[in-house]
């Protein structure tokens, strides 16, 4: 049987017209196709949110997890299926709010997973509340007076925790995003791509235009993606100054940091050397050597 090559299901994407999710959908399908990933060679996981509605639109072997918990579900899978690859799609509310702990712990675990965040700086699906990456002082239905917190700095958090692949993409740059996905998907270890994804319905501040006026490509900018410290500095600069004017600041996109050869979590598990863990449950395991038996005929 040859596999169907299209990654589309019969269900048409229900994202709002013009939403950044459409470009991300396209970029990921293209990257998967370019890399020749067959559908039975990887599994996809989604959190809950507009991003997660994608679970209905990608024709894959997938798991639509709980809000904020796609990473642990994917980790359980990744640590029991060394024969497959694992891709996680998260939202900013989902992944950096509720799921922030799992995110940081996954980074320090360097678990071999590709992590893509649809970072629209809002809760799209639940009608536009403040998200962890919303701009400082941005108003929303849940914070009419403006968010009092500094936004989460996902790239910085990952970097200080020893992340081995950290990138930022922009949904308006589908070609660049496709390339970042290709790099992330083939990276060995935890590879994160935070994607600036305009939500045309709720986020009236961080629009396509707003980003187009500010983004620039890191590639060719002189940034050295093997320099963790300068990557951290870059992450902090942008995270504190996002609400600035285009003249005042710019937003780098591309690979912030990339490091090869760091052992993955899976590399530390000889348990995985002989394949998927369902193989353990074909025959009852002989536990007679694990328990001391006293008395009786010896």
């Amino acid at each position: 049987m040859t596999e169907q090559t299209s990654f589309d299901t019969p269900l048409k994407p229900t994202w709002c017209p013009g939403c950044g999710n459409h470009g991300m959908f396209k970029a990921l399908k293209t990257a998967l196709t370019d890399l020749g990933w067959e559908k039975h060679t990887f599994a996809m996981f989604w959190g809950i949110g507009c991003h997660g509605n994608g679970a209905d639109f990608y024709d894959v072997q997938g798991f639509h997890a709980l809000h904020g918990r796609s990473l642990p579900a994917a980790t359980g899978f990744a640590l029991s299926r060394p024969d497959m690859r694992t891709v996680v799609i998260a939202g900013d509310g989902d992944g950096y709010g509720l799921g922030l702990g799992h995110f940081v712990h996954s980074v320090r675990r360097n678990v071999d997973i590709t992590y893509i965040a649809h970072d629209n700086q809002t809760y799209g699906l639940t009608t536009g509340q403040t998200s962890p990456t919303s701009e400082h002082l941005a108003p929303s239905v849940s914070t009419p007076g403006g968010v009092l917190e500094q936004p989460v700095n996902p790239l910085g958090l990952a970097l200080v925790q020893g992340a081995t692949f950290v990138a930022r993409g922009f949904a308006g740059d589908v070609a660049g995003l496709t390339e970042l996905y290709r790099l992330a998907l083939t990276h060995k270890g935890f590879a994160m791509v935070d994607v600036l994804q305009p939500c045309v319905t709720w986020n009236k501040l961080n629009t396509f235009k707003w980003f187009r006026d500010r983004v620039y490509q890191l590639e060719g900018s002189g940034h050295d993606p093997s320099d963790r410290q300068s990557a951290v500095a870059l992450s902090m600069k942008t995270f504190r100054e996002m609400s600035c004017t285009p003249d005042e600041c710019t937003i780098p996109i591309g690979v912030f940091y990339s490091e090869d050869g760091v052992p993955t979590y899976q590399d530390g598990l000889p348990q995985l050397d002989d394949g998927p863990l369902w193989r353990r449950a074909v025959q009852p395991r002989d536990v007679s050597g694990l328990i001391e038996v006293h008395g009786g005929p010896r």
Partner: protein
Amino acid sequence: MDRTPYGTSSEVRIRIGGPAGAGIKAAGQTLARSFVAAGLHTFDLTEYPSLIKGGHNTYHVRVSPDVLFSHVSPTDVLVALDSATVDLHAAELDGAGAIVFDPDDAPAGGYAVEGACMVEVPLGRIVSDAGGVQVMRNIAALGAVLGLMRFPLVHLEESLRAQFASKDASVTAQNVAVAAAGHAFGQQAACDFPVSLKPVNDASQRVLVDGNEAVGLGALAAGVGFYAAYPMTPASSLLHFMAARGEDQGVVVKHTEDELAAMNMVVGAAFGGARAMCATSGGGFSLMSEAFGLAGVSESAVVVGVFTRPGPATGMPTWTEQSDLRFVIHAAQGEFPRVVLAPGDVTEAFDLTWRAFNLADRLQTPVVILGDAYLSDHRQSAPAFDLAGVTIERGELQVEGEVQGYLRYRETEDGVSLRVLPGVIGAQQIVNSYEHDEHGWGAPGEDARVRKSQNEKRMRKLALARTIVPPPARFGPDDADVSVICFGSTKRPVLEAMRMVGELGISVNLLQTVTVWPFPAHEVTEFIDSATRVVVIEGDHDGQLEGLIREQCLREVHDRLRRYDGRPFAPEQVARFLEEVAGRD
């Protein structure tokens, strides 16, 4: 302290007490192992507060040529590694028995205990003479106990050799020397010892394990591939057990960042086809409950151990209770089929655990093993586990190859759909936390008809479950003066109490609801209807089991005994209650 009129004529009860950190439990377990190696039965009870040091720890063990069901309250030999032990526990001797102590620990003027035979053993000096460290004092004491009992030293020596096998040979030698010196001291004591225990030569095969070890062995036998947990008393030792064996046995054992991660990882691993399990106590289960429901709606085959300690919230970490029964039955929003198994002893803990994996796979739904600290923590000698009886039934599962037109949630008569693992060619599917259609897609799941039929499909699995879960266990005669219903570890003191009151001519029978969900309403109703006086004995305040009986069987019971102070029922307490109930007009 309980003074009991019930006969316990052929056994010896030993209590070792001392400060936290003195290795009381390890010493006690070494002693118990020696007795079991000598063909005897043991049952131990370790009590310690939720502190690392500074608290008072004790270890109590019963030793007998007869099968033992539970701990008991009295003590025959009290081993005092500090003076607090004598202050706190001398009364248990009730004017008989012996106290083994180091004169250096005793207050000026010695201990003022009446009736007990005082066995002075210079534990500290014995250790110093052997060149050992002070923590070995408890080994000297063990030797002394055996000497006092005129019990051979050889099994203790063997136990010590086994225990220190991985250490330097000199450590073993020191320990053995210390034990021997203690033995010699004990033998010199001229106590009028009531029971004389001898090694049994033709003893049947037996194991000495606690509940968590039994669960761990059951899970390993069942082919567990993934175990995730965040430490929480009394479940932590199961994590340690699995972690110690993970690499050798090919099990990925993950100490996670929290319980939410543990449960979600387990669901993810089950998606990948591994037999997957986590375990925790009630507090961790609270954090797991959302993902527990995820397992329900996504039809994931997972096994979850919930080992209760007294709640609510942090509660009493190192003590026991049975108060999570209704919580595990109703946990998580919405409705889905689940199975809750409640082992009553280590044998059941082993059996029900491997069976839990089969049930989870056949039903594609979460199965809970509901235990408690009384089951988890204490070692008991038991017949060697029936390893040959273990089977693996993975139900409707395709792990390899290819498939066409696959529908993960196909609606079937019994509600079970073929599970085809990721990695199989053509097995596109969405395993979903949303309501969904047969393929697994979420949006169509919002249709009223689709919702209704998927909901009913899942619920049909509960009907299937009723036909394949373990039935209740019955003990005692068909006709009895008093009929008891209980679940879980309360079985132990009840069986012991049945023996006690049996000697007084009172007949008692017992129905233990081994599966507590789906509730065995039919069997319980029959049991109640054919009984004279039914009582429910359970370790909680609210009477959760009794509530289930009322709801499921529409039956009232005659009386009830509950305990909710953190301690397991003492069999003497149960016996008194049964005696009293039997004596009513």
